[in-house]
Symmetry: C2
Subunit: 419 residues, 2 copies
């Protein structure tokens, strides 16, 4: 059953009644003008007390999925595998679907796009990338990807919260992580945030809408802030930088797309510099609109509910993602064949990864910590065994893309280190 016009009532089957689900239920109850109501809610733990009539609930997913009267499924559960069954079954049953599950979407994107196109039903997930910030919708409006130079953003609120505490309150990384967990900004598995998995899931989603690239998230080079050291923060402060975990995609001169999630030094003149605590911010650069910046809360129950509501509102006028860029005759391609200016720090002398660099521009070493600044061939990062080691931190410079391929050269400085 599709939703043909704005008069159609949305009859919603809701999976999950946590803070987002319950918030959604309440807003819909209080706002009859939305012409949307939750008919049934599927929950996992029937024994919990709920602030809604008992007859609303069931533990059987099929009660929702097989109900012809329900034309929209809203999926707000934590378990990505169960969510996959729910979302794919709902699409097959020609129900519109709204989901906030970035892990599910990133990992099954190709299949979920195929299902939407085959069954001609909308599947919206604005809340899955940067919660309340309408970045997916905005990328969809860029119909021609040769207009889009790049996107770069802070897309994970808990790592940004930690980095803010480190830079503003001079907490150690460990203290800041504890505080983020205490404040509830971490995912149920904090490694998802801290190691960059959540950010690369979001980048995967953005890549599809920005460039029509559908890539498994694990194939995109990424890390988090787990290896950053106090010495890195000191180095950054001395240079007037902050460190942010930045997800980015950029169209290179050859038309191919570079994409990664890595810590980056950010300067005061960047809009990302001002993104603090649990906020998210995304810069979209394009030929016509030039630089646009979107900023807002990237996580939390209310911002997520806000984006889910805006998806429901969009369903009322039959909005669906067009994925136009996927249908280009020559779809964009990811590449790892480019050069970046990076900073790498590591413990002790004799661990300088000099052979990984095309050119070393600056270095320092002490008994405690060494660092190198130089130009690296990005494809060297595909082997993560050396740069993701616990003792190594890698940080990208601002304007890190290096146009010309430098000739591999040895300077006297290199020799000095290597003696």
């Amino acid at each position: 059953m599709s939703i043909q016009n704005q008069q159609t009532k949305l009859n919603i089957g809701l999976f999950g009644f946590g803070v987002v689900g319950e918030g959604l239920y309440k807003v819909l109850e209080q706002t009859p003008t939305l012409n949307a109501q939750i008919k049934k809610v599927c929950i996992k733990h029937p024994e919990k007390r709920r602030s809604a009539p008992e007859e609303l609930f069931t533990i059987d997913p099929e009660v929702l999925l097989q109900d012809n009267d329900i034309n929209v499924i809203v999926e707000l559960i934590d378990d990505a595998d169960a969510a996959y069954y729910i979302v794919s079954t709902a699409l097959k049953n020609k129900k519109a679907v709204v989901s906030a599950n970035k892990k599910l979407i990133a990992e099954h994107l190709a299949e979920l796009i195929a299902l939407q196109q085959h069954f001609k039903v909308p599947f919206l997930y604005e809340s899955a990338a940067c919660a309340s910030i309408p970045v997916i919708r905005n990328l969809e409006e860029y119909y021609d990807n040769d207009l889009l130079h790049g996107i770069s953003g802070i897309v994970n609120g808990s790592t940004n919260y930690i980095l803010t505490k480190v830079f503003e309150e001079k907490l150690s990384f460990e203290e800041a992580l504890l505080q983020a967990q205490y404040e509830g900004f971490a995912e149920s598995d904090p490694a998802l945030d801290v190691e960059g998995t959540d950010a690369v899931n979001k980048l995967t989603i953005l890549l599809a809408h920005a460039y029509g690239i559908v890539s498994p998230p694990q194939e995109i080079v990424h890390t988090g802030i787990q290896n950053l050291q106090a010495a890195d923060a000191v180095f950054a402060r001395e240079k007037g930088y902050e460190i942010k975990l930045v997800a980015q995609a950029r169209k290179l001169d050859n038309g191919k797309i570079a994409a990664f999630v890595l810590p980056q030094f950010v300067q005061k003149d960047s809009q990302l510099y001002s993104v603090r605590n649990e906020y998210n911010g995304v810069i979209i650069e394009s030929r016509l609109a030039d630089k646009q910046f979107f900023y807002g809360k990237g996580a939390g129950s209310f911002p997520t509910a806000s984006a889910v509501l805006s998806d429901l509102s969009a369903l009322r006028y039959d909005y669906k993602y067009e994925y136009k860029k996927l249908r280009y005759q020559e779809p964009a391609q990811l590449t790892n064949d480019f050069f970046l200016r990076v900073y790498i720090s590591f413990d002790g002398l004799f661990h300088v990864p000099h052979e990984k660099f095309e050119k070393i521009e600056e270095w320092s070493s002490s008994d405690r910590r060494c660092h190198v600044t130089g130009i690296i061939r990005f494809s060297r990062l595909l082997d993560a065994s050396w740069w993701k080691r616990k003792s190594v931190s890698l940080i990208v410079y601002p304007d890190a893309f290096v146009d010309k391929v430098p000739v591999k050269e040895r300077t006297e400085k290199d020799v000095l280190i290597l003696v």
Copy 2:
């Protein structure tokens, strides 16, 4: 003829072939995937050389308006009166319309909304407020205005350019205005920018989409930066402020809406502080999404073309503004019954407008310039004869809304001034 599905080809009749129109033509020519083409262009000066085939052009508006084959009119001309005829005739002829003409839209909004609803055709104008920033579309997604606490934004690029030059390069207001004109950031009539007319036109449009309020722009209290003095900039700098021209609307505790365009002191912690030069930025505060910030180029041919293209793209899936908030049982109302903390400066002693203040909190005077900080009843600004005088500048404080109505009181300080 309405546009029923995404396969429908857009046959465009274009009014105006200036930089935006010509840019649009080129992008559409180069991008067949858009499924949109310009069939005919109506121009005013046929003698000008054009970079497009001669048979594309006409000087007769009716050739476009009466052509049943044309299903979209794009209106990009400077003359608001001519634009009004074009837009209203096109809507009556059941053609979808895209316009960038904020003056036309602000001044005829009620009628243009009625025409859209009567003839059931979309009229889109994302470029009319903040050009490339999708602020109208985003406000439309807030379906329930009790969720929306307020909007505040820098919506005029040329005044912001001038203020940036005054604060960063310490130019005088006069020098900065000259530079803005030289750089081409001023409207063809610079008074439209400098005196706040352009900003209040945009606020009028935003009010309709944010709160369902359709008000003639001239009824909204507004001014520009024409009366700001060097001494005001000195005062601001000393306090760590910058001065920005801010358009804002805020829902008060009684549910009514305060709206105005006035210069405002802005602190470092506000996202508006970082909006420099010709950029625009809008903060949207709502209950669920909390604070969102949208930033981008607010003027210029490319950003405008970008927004026009995104409107055309939206037409392909039959998008139209729903103006949902206009149809509420109890639509929101504007009010002038509230209190603001303001700074007023003026020439010489004995010109202190002390009787306009409910409470004076701070003052200083010298032979050259005096200023007063205090709480003012907003409705006193309806009489502009005293505060819009050339020698008076009025600047709103950050967080200027004062909750409690202060009892009118005289302090010893007042007496000191008044001696």
